[in-house]
């Protein structure tokens, strides 16, 4: 009954006129990002972050969430129509979705993708509503030792489950942790790694760093790859799927949703792994595996449900534990912190409007997305033809103003430039940037909780073993690291994450 009351309360917030507007704006921007292959959701999230600071807290978080799951919908449009995934999690949709388009069934593929995502989104919203408060109760038992263990698990998972070499990912996470130490130490008041630069006493501006690493670096590589040109698109035919398409999609959607939820909750998990996992699962259980890769509707329905389910399930650890499972959630966490919210179990009790409003907005957002994606598909298709040349200068201005506006300091724009260069260089050398951002976001609380735990135990490191939950989490971290070290699992990881970063 409590759950129902809370959902009704959340719905009253999500359906308030201004929040509905922010949800619509976020979903539209998300779809736009998904449709334009040049700019990924991570880059856009970083670019939009400063704008969100000028919006009301609940509205800003609802908008950013809309951008995130809207991008999953939009990404499937380009995957199906032009065989170019708008973002990594929709790579799998290309395999069968584009083949369906070539067979004159683009409309059916788009409709199945949108409806599968809608179903998954609605189911996950209920799961988030049920699992969130349960996890919050567990999180309230956590002391500094447990938080250190949980943050370690989050960091190790982000390293293991990001694309590219594990050694490079570890290096990135460590650099992120080091960068998080820049600024004044809150315990002693001493400056750390500021090199006498006064502006660095407040630490590195999170917005400037994330925009530089993701926004500018992505624009630069996108210009190199596309030359600023638009795309040629398959002709759209009948939009509605046949009865046979529906019948064949039901089971894959259910399986994809289940898999997406499980993988989305796990630290480091996300839409890409869920989509690849769902595709492999469908191919294994199908009675017609030879049709996969040739336009099988199951190959669209399962992964689409899985990537959307995972994207929304990512909110569970972020909202209840304050631990972002991936880089986008790390940016979301940064946005919450900037809005004065302390992420973690207290969000549900201290900001119930934000917690339940956000959960309810996911339902509203998914419905908005189906309306945006199906009847308005023609608009998105025409946007695909726009030359990116016209978009880049605007995005550049947005990033520069965004970095400057966070604290009205030109110094932040210099930070942006430095990290843009770093981000571009790292991208060129195939270093995954996501672990760096996670290290940067989690580093502050890792440092704080570690020192608190050691202060309380008089510097005794055994305290982490004496706390059973912390010990369990450390064992889980070690088990995960060992699992990834196994050659066949490592090979599967490399295959599944080929599109990440």
């Amino acid at each position: 009954m409590d759950l129902l009351n809370n959902l009704i309360y959340g719905m009253s917030i999500a359906l308030a006129f201004d929040n509905l507007g922010y949800c619509l704006l976020g979903a539209t921007l998300g779809t736009l990002i998904g449709v334009l292959p040049g700019i990924g959701p991570l880059a856009t999230f970083a670019i939009l972050l400063p704008i969100s600071f000028y919006l009301p807290t609940v509205g800003a978080i609802i908008m950013l969430a809309g951008v995130y799951y809207g991008a999953q919908y939009g990404g499937s449009i380009t995957s199906i129509l032009v065989n170019i995934p708008g973002e990594a999690s929709t790579v799998v949709t290309c395999l069968d979705g584009h083949k369906m388009a070539l067979q004159g069934r683009a409309g059916a593929a788009l409709a199945v993708a949108a409806l599968a995502s809608l179903f998954a989104g609605c189911v996950v919203t209920v799961v988030v509503a049920v699992a969130g408060p349960t996890l919050v109760k567990i999180a309230l038992l956590f002391g500094p030792e447990e938080y250190v263990a949980l943050l370690t698990l989050g960091l190790v998972s982000s390293v293991l489950l990001s694309g590219g070499s594990i050694a490079k990912s570890i290096a990135m996470a460590l650099i992120g942790l080091l960068l998080s130490l820049v600024g004044m130490d809150v315990n002693t008041g001493t400056d750390r790694f500021t090199f006498g630069i006064l502006e660095l006493s407040d630490g590195l501006g999170f917005t400037a760093v994330s925009i530089g690493l993701f926004g500018i670096a992505e624009i630069a590589t996108s210009i190199e790859e596309t030359g600023g040109n638009g795309r040629k698109i398959e002709k759209l035919s009948r939009l509605w799927p046949t009865g046979e398409d529906f019948r064949r999609s039901i089971a894959p959607v259910l399986r994809g949703t289940g898999l997406g939820i499980i993988l989305g909750i796990l630290p480091g998990g996300g839409g890409t792994i869920a989509a690849f996992g769902a595709y492999s699962l469908e191919r294994k259980v199908s009675r017609r595996p030879r049709l996969f890769g040739k336009g099988a509707v199951e190959g669209v329905a399962g992964p689409e449900a899985a990537n959307n389910a995972a994207a929304q399930a990512n909110f569970i650890p972020m909202l209840s534990l304050g631990i972002p499972p991936n880089a986008i959630m790390a940016l979301m966490l940064g946005a919450m912190i900037t809005h004065g919210i302390t992420p973690g179990p207290q969000v549900m009790t201290k900001q119930p409007d934000l917690f339940w409003g956000l959960i309810a907005s996911m339902w509203v957002g998914n419905l908005i997305l189906v309306i945006l994606n199906l009847p308005l598909i023609g608009v998105w298709v025409s946007l695909l033809r726009v030359r990116y040349t016209y978009l880049f200068p605007g995005i550049l201005v947005l990033t520069a103003i965004g970095a400057f506006a966070e604290s009205n300091r030109v110094f932040d724009v210099y930070i942006l430039m430095a990290f843009a260069l770093l981000g571009y260089g790292l991208k060129k050398m195939n270093f995954p940037v996501a672990p760096l951002l996670l290290g940067l976001v989690l580093g502050g609380s890792f440092d704080e909780q570690l020192r608190r735990a050691l202060l309380l135990s008089d510097g005794d490191w055994m305290t982490f073993i004496e706390h059973p939950i912390a010990l369990g989490l450390f064992i889980l971290t070690g088990f995960l690291a060992l699992l990834i070290a196994m050659p066949n699992i490592r090979h599967a990881r490399d295959e599944a994450l080929a599109g990440e970063d």
């Binding site: 210009i223 200068p393 605007g394």
Partner: protein
């Protein structure tokens, strides 16, 4: 050219205001990819500058000077 655009923004935002900073940032940034014609390039830069003022100054009410200090 992307970095040159941002550098121009950082150097011009305080003395030159939003119009000059955003305009020069967009203009320099536009050279990072080929444009169909100079007319279209100028038109794009003008639209972006106008949108920047509309969104950031009028809509979000950011504490920024729109015009250069020597004009205002």
């Amino acid at each position: 050219m992307l970095l040159a655009g941002i550098l121009a923004f950082s150097l011009l935002i305080s003395p030159g205001g939003l119009i000059l900073a955003a305009g020069s940032c967009a203009m320099l940034g536009s050279f990072s990819a080929p444009f169909p014609s100079t007319k279209k390039r100028i038109a794009t830069v003008a639209v972006i500058t106008l949108l920047a003022v509309l969104v950031f100054k009028l809509l979000l009410k950011l504490n920024l000077n729109v015009w250069p200090a020597w004009i205002s």
